[in-house]
């Protein structure tokens, strides 16, 4: 009986050694991917926000005083964002007088439009790319179909604001998480 057990153990050992010499893999590929939040580019020539795609041409829009300009993306299908969102704005902007205040809104649509957050920027007569950000107070948003970018003049005087969308993607916002 003991002899059979010894033979069995020896056989298993031999088989395991033989198996250990056979490759399970020819190779592995590990992609370490750094994922950034989606970017919504203003395209005034199409009057919409492009998702992760820069406009193909430049186009400027203007509005006066406390008027506003609002553009939004195509439907993204009712998606949930389970993190506290920061909106990182960029825009190429100028006005016909110095030190005018423009309010930037980051918005989303589920069954109606909501403001995620907003921030004010000071605009000069020189076309300038301004960057800023605002944080949403919400820890998550659900059933999101669209994102929107709204530019609202805060002047009560006779002021004209100009904003340019271009192939460099200067006018956009990116979603990030609040750290």
């Amino acid at each position: 009986m003991r002899k059979f057990a010894m033979i069995g153990i020896a056989f298993l050992l031999f088989v395991s050694i033989a198996y250990a010499g056979v490759l399970s893999y020819y190779g592995k590929i590990v992609g370490n991917v750094n994922v950034q939040g989606p970017i919504f580019y203003a395209d005034f020539s199409q009057n919409k926000l492009l998702i992760n795609t820069k406009p193909s041409q430049s186009q400027s829009v203007s509005f006066s005083d406390s008027e506003s300009k609002f553009i939004f993306s195509d439907d993204i299908g009712g998606v949930s964002f389970n993190y506290k969102i920061k909106c990182e704005f960029s825009l190429k902007v100028w006005s016909d007088s110095e030190n005018q205040i423009l309010r930037l809104y980051c918005r989303y649509y589920d069954t109606s439009w909501h403001d995620l957050c907003y921030v004010d920027v000071t605009v000069s007569k020189t076309p300038t790319v301004i960057t800023t950000s605002c944080n949403s107070g919400l820890t998550s948003i659900t059933n999101v179909h669209r994102f929107g970018y709204r530019f609202e003049g805060q002047s009560v005087e006779n002021v004209k604001y100009y904003i340019e969308s271009n192939s460099d993607g200067d006018t956009r916002f990116q979603l990030d998480k609040v750290s």
Binding site: L23, G27, I29, V30, G31
Partner: protein, 176 residues
């Protein structure tokens, strides 16, 4: 009563028998078991290898992917598709079957496609026939001709609501 024992030339029979056995043993030890031995030491080259640049080919140092793992770091915007290129070659003189599959893919990945194409093919060209290895199509099976080198095209898309951060997307190239 004293026991009697057989004697032979004055020696005991027992001693005689032991002596004969010892002589026989020496005689056997003196016979050749081998006229010679041939010990062949074979250095086996891995039949199928992978490379990130079609130049430096990786060889496995163990059976679980050690030594033959390509680590590729890249960035992608959530909702966008990233294309990556790797290479595989068959060193053997016979065809080799391979399978390409995913491993522990994070839930944030929306699409993961692979294709094996000729090295001159652009992974972004419309003619490339991709296999969705996250779906029922996967894994991708391919036969490599003897000595053939092919390009592995990977197409990965993260969901638009992916939280900013770092994620690992793993492919395995295994014997079919």
């Amino acid at each position: 009563m004293k026991k009697s024992s057989a004697k032979f030339f004055g020696k005991s029979l027992l001693a005689l028998v032991l002596g004969i056995i010892a002589v026989a043993g020496l005689a056997v030890a003196g016979l050749l078991r081998f006229y010679g031995k041939v010990v062949g030491t074979a250095t086996v080259t891995q039949s199928v290898q992978v490379s990130s640049d079609n130049n430096n080919w990786l060889t496995c140092s163990d059976t679980t992917g050690g030594g033959c793992t390509i680590t590729d770091t890249f960035s992608v915007v959530a909702g966008n598709t990233a294309y990556r290129t790797y290479y595989v070659k068959n060193n053997a003189g016979v065809s080799a079957g391979i399978k390409i599959d995913d491993e522990s893919t994070p839930g944030e990945v929306e699409e993961l496609y692979v294709a094996v194409v000729d090295t001159g093919t652009d992974c972004k060209s419309e003619g490339v026939s991709y296999t969705n290895i996250l779906g029922e199509e996967g894994p991708l099976s391919e036969i490599l001709d003897p000595g053939a080198t092919k390009k592995i095209c990977e197409k990965v898309k993260f969901k638009i609501n992916t939280l900013e951060g770092s994620y690992d997307v793993k492919l395995t190239v295994i014997p079919a």
